[in-house]
Amino acid sequence: MQKKFQLTQRRGWIKSATASMALPMIVPSSVLGRDGATPPSERIVMATIGTGGRGTGDMRAFLGFPEVQMVATCDPVREHRDRARDMVNQRYKSKDCATYNDFREVMTRDDVDAVLIGTPDHWHALITIEACKRGKDVFCEKPECLTIRQGRAMVDAARLYGRVVSGGSQRVIGDYGDVPRLVRGGAIGDVKEVYVSCGDPSGECYLPEEPVPDGVDWDMWLGPAPWRPFHSSLLKGKFRPYRDYSGGGMTDWGAHRFGAALFATGLHHTGPVEVSPPDGEDTPLLTYRFSNGTKFFHNGTKHNIPKYKNIVYRGTDGEVPGIHPPMLRRVDMEGYKGRGGIFGDFVHCVKTRELPFRDIEIAHRATTVCHLGNIAYWLNRKLRWNPETEEIIGDSEASRWLDRPMRGSWALS
């Protein structure tokens, strides 16, 4: 059978793609190996993997797009995947939506163009990379990775296979509107300091053991994470405080807000060169220093300056939010493409092959800032970071936190 490889190239993708010469451009899987497929510009066949609260919320958003057809839900918790399936079937007035316990079964479906990943963080990299290999585009909830190395591996896979991989922070632009334009446009002069408020790092999990209920594949829920006994709250979105599954509030809201701060200051393609934990003296807050001299401060729960809420930018000529001179000049700035916020941006990019607003490289850079902060907090020492090579300098023991071996046979291969 003649393989088809239809492609409608559009301007925006090329514009973005030239930034990365490593990016080959591949069409959605629906046009690979199938004759007579509906053109991808008209229909995007999707599956949702991870159908807890957030995954279902995202799925609901995608169901609102007429060009998206959700065909499968996948979760190791039967109640979650069935509930999501019912939602899909209700939307389409059909009984066609399939359910899966194991995401690898979804990957074998050639008709699926794209997957929405709404699982806990410890699954994000594995599923994203497998999807890329299978020629599927990915919308992955934030924080996009559990470790810095996982984030880089996700970027590599996206580039190698030419997939559209969007992170899931809807707040970088959604919550901050014109602030990045003001900051980039020079409204506050040279940005010197940015105070970013979000939660603290994750830690160990001390939840007691509970019996595994019927319909829960606990081993699959844990997947690559270290083994621990079952506890029901972990299935209800309460995994975030625990290091084996998440980076805590630091990566949860940090993925949004550090992402926004990096974007507004134009540092979203790089990273800090130094991260210093609070010492109760000269460094009251966890402090990131970038090579251009800009400093970011983590305004956390334990160490914070209460008057700074959300994100505060301080520059040579003013402050945002706060007082600053008028900023009238034109500023070209990336934004969502298509209609419908970050979800519409993804849908648009799947069709046009443009890089999405929260492209995985940008997402990885944002979560890297959060992860470095966590490592500095955990180890309570200053880290020097090379954002080009993505290596911690002069501290091989701290470098061991850049990745974690996975349980059982799971690996990012």
Partner: protein
């Protein structure tokens, strides 16, 4: 009893001698053993405290200067692990060893590979994988040599690959022809990590094997790495080996792309040849590469473009625009003017927006009139994108010379896209338009481009703004005024407009003044309060209630106590509830609570009480909880009280310090109707 790694255990046990009594730092050893029995305590607080203490010490020991103490502590942990421990304690200790263990831990970890509990054995394997010692790599390698199940083999290969220091490709090569697909995938991935010529050669050979489809992803990853390192010839050999292996669609496309990228001096020839290929798949895959053509190759591709199929030319035009290749202008003008194919024509027009100067404006303006909607939209977009500043004036002249509303709308959109500052003048003129769309567009333009002069002009038209647009209009004025550097005088343009405004417009202006805030505004609003009554005084109270910060709390409290009308007193109370806890409030949290408490005493209605209780949740103090607590007994206010206390109860440090808050949360779980609040209260109590 299953013994997961039992064969390994017996095979490896003799490789190492158990260390003689280690000279661990006494304090660390004491600390470990003091805590050891509590690591699996049923009392979770005790378990947590003991584990946290030891873990913290482990983090501290991982400092570069603490190498010998770190090593001693790890020996102590390994000694403990050799004894009888619960699974939970073993896993906890192994996780610490995974993070900080070195040479000293390897022997003990190898023993644990043979543990009867396969969960413990797997944790030991991970600890070896993350152990920087060469001995750890050798141990894993030896274990791999004698592993007797596919699962073990996969896990051990993955562990070696994780280390990234494993170079013994010969051993791994043996597994590339394995009967288990999982083993082949793992081995290929591990080989590709080496990123050397030898690794490339091994994978090229293995792509001839039956399992080539399993190897192709790793071969492509390796080829990309080699290409990035500059070895194009070797990378191309890998890509071609993948192409020969009849790969799947995705791998096939990636390999075509890679092969072109590695063509060296003949990229343009290779690309043009594939763009003309009879196989549609090859042609489409090659199109992917067009935007990646090196500058030096572009000329050659440009010369050959006219013979290419339209889909390839379209991709090329897009790439030329993106790169702003000025030399392409003549090709683009030709295609924009004369091409029949819509896709190609649109690509050419849009590229002109990036490439062209003011000399392409006449062509683009003429295309705005075409009946082909796609072409007209592309022309508008190109006009919006063109960099030449002369374009602003040319488009504005066109705007001045036309009365056609549709065309005016298009031209205004273009100027708006270009952020042309003088467009704000046009926007003010259109504020009084009968068209809702035109009015709203004008307000949007003013928000972005307006200056103080535009505020003055716009406020003269305030009576013409329909009530449904007044909110937007007000935000636009506030946005412009917020650009005045001195925050005390930001409301001045509106204050000045107030003097000459009709009496009927003044309440609207006062509400805008309140939203802007600042010292001048406060003085002005206070004057309106003192010297006036009726509508103006009512509007002044509304202005204070809209204030952007808590500086007017004192005035609002006075009005709440002694306001002339009930309506004023109610609005003042609602205003207090709003401004007292605004972010960036100059009030301390205690002061915020004091204000809310005072306001509560002045309330007469349920609505305001609910509002104040709701806002109290923003004050993260135990005193707030004490303020709210009595309302748990009030059936009308219980739900909001539950919600606010639960919100404060999320703060762990408060819960730890004040058991009364924990009691409140327990009570809330019993009494609250709102399931979400109950769930939140439960979750707060779960967090230890």
């Amino acid at each position: 009893m299953s013994n997961y790694y039992l064969p390994l255990h017996f095979a490896l046990i003799g490789l190492f001698a158990f260390p003689a009594s280690a000279t661990a730092d006494e304090n660390d050893a004491k600390l470990l053993h003091k805590n050891l029995q509590n690591f699996s305590s049923d009392d979770l607080t005790r378990q947590k405290n003991s584990r946290e203490q030891w873990q913290q010490r482990c983090f501290e020991l991982s400092r570069p200067a603490n190498s010998s103490q770190r090593s001693a502590a790890c020996r102590e942990m390994m000694r403990a692990l050799s004894g009888k421990l619960t699974r939970s304690t073993s896993l906890f200790l192994l996780q610490q060893v995974e993070r900080i263990g070195g040479d000293e831990s390897v022997e003990g970890l190898v023993r644990l590979l043979g543990d009867a509990d396969k969960i413990v054995a797997d944790a030991a394997r991970r600890a070896l994988a993350n152990n920087p010692s060469e001995k750890a790599a050798h141990s894993l390698e030896r274990a791999l040599a004698i592993a007797n199940s596919d699962t073990q083999i996969v896990q051990l290969i993955n562990s070696l690959a994780f280390r990234k220091d494993y170079q013994d490709l010969e051993t791994l090569t043996l597994f590339l022809d394995h009967s288990s697909p999982q083993v082949v995938v793992a081995a290929a991935a591990a080989v590709s990590q080496a990123a050397t010529d030898e690794a490339a050669q091994i994978l090229i050979e293995s792509l001839r094997l039956q399992q080539s489809k399993l190897i192709a992803p790793s071969a492509l990853a390796l080829a990309a790495a080699i290409r990035e390192a500059g070895n194009l010839a070797q990378a191309r050999r890998l890509y071609e080996a993948v192409l020969r292996s009849n790969p799947s669609g995705v791998a096939h496309a990636v390999a075509i792309f890679g092969a072109i990228a590695c063509s060296g001096d003949s990229v343009a020839d290779d690309l043009l040849a594939r763009l003309n290929d009879g196989d549609e798949f090859v042609r489409q895959a090659a199109i992917n590469f067009v935007s990646h053509v090196d500058e030096s190759e572009l000329d050659a591709v440009l010369r050959g473009q006219s013979d290419l199929p339209n889909d390839a030319r379209t991709a090329l035009f897009i790439a030329l625009g993106t790169r702003r290749v000025a030399a392409a202008q003549e090709f683009l003008i030709e295609a924009a003017s004369n091409t029949v194919d819509d896709g190609l024509r649109i690509a050419a027009i849009e590229a002109l927006g990036d490439v062209g100067g003011s000399d392409v404006v006449p062509l683009l303006l003429s295309l705005l009139d075409t009946s082909n909607e796609g072409v007209a939209k592309a022309a508008a977009k190109a006009l919006g994108d063109t960099q030449d500043p002369q374009v602003d004036k040319r488009v504005f002249r066109e705007l001045e010379s036309t009365n056609d509303n549709v065309r005016r709308e298009t031209l205004i959109s273009i100027l708006n896209q270009r952020r042309w500052p003088k467009l704000a003048d046009v926007a003010v003129d259109e504020l009084g338009s009968d068209s809702e769309a035109a009015r709203r567009r004008s307000i949007g333009i003013l928000t972005r481009l307006g200056t103080v002069e535009h505020v003055t002009a716009a406020l003269l038209l305030v009576d013409q703004i329909p009530s449904q647009d007044f909110g937007r209009f007000s935000k636009a004025i506030v946005a412009i005024c917020s650009r005045i550097p001195n925050s005390n005088t930001q409301a001045q343009p509106v204050i000045e407009a107030y003097a000459s405004a009709d009496r009927s417009d003044r309440p609207r202006l006062l509400s805008i003044i309140g939203t802007i805030g600042g010292k001048n505004a406060a003085d002005f609003v206070n004057q309106r309060l003192e010297g006036n009554s009726g509508e103006e005084a009512e509007a002044a109270v509304t202005a204070l209630a809209n204030w952007p910060d808590a500086s007017v709390v004192g005035t609002l409290l006075k009005i709440a106590q002694r306001g002339e009308t009930e309506s004023q007193r109610i609005r003042a109370l609602r205003g207090i509830a709003r401004v007292a806890v605004l972010p960036n409030s100059p009030l301390s949290e205690s002061q915020q609570l004091k204000v809310l408490t005072q306001a509560m005493k002045l309330t007469t209605r349920l609505d305001e009480r609910k509002l104040i209780l709701d806002r109290a949740k923003a004050v993260d103090l135990i005193e707030s909880v004490r303020f709210i607590r009595p309302f748990l007994d009030n059936t009308d206010l219980r739900e909001v009280a539950c919600k606010s206390i639960t919100q404060i109860g999320r703060i762990k440090s408060l819960r730890d310090q004040y058991p009364e808050l924990v009691d409140d949360l327990r009570r809330i779980i019993e009494v609250v109707q709102d399931e979400k609040v109950r769930e939140r209260a439960k979750n707060a109590l779960l967090e230890i």
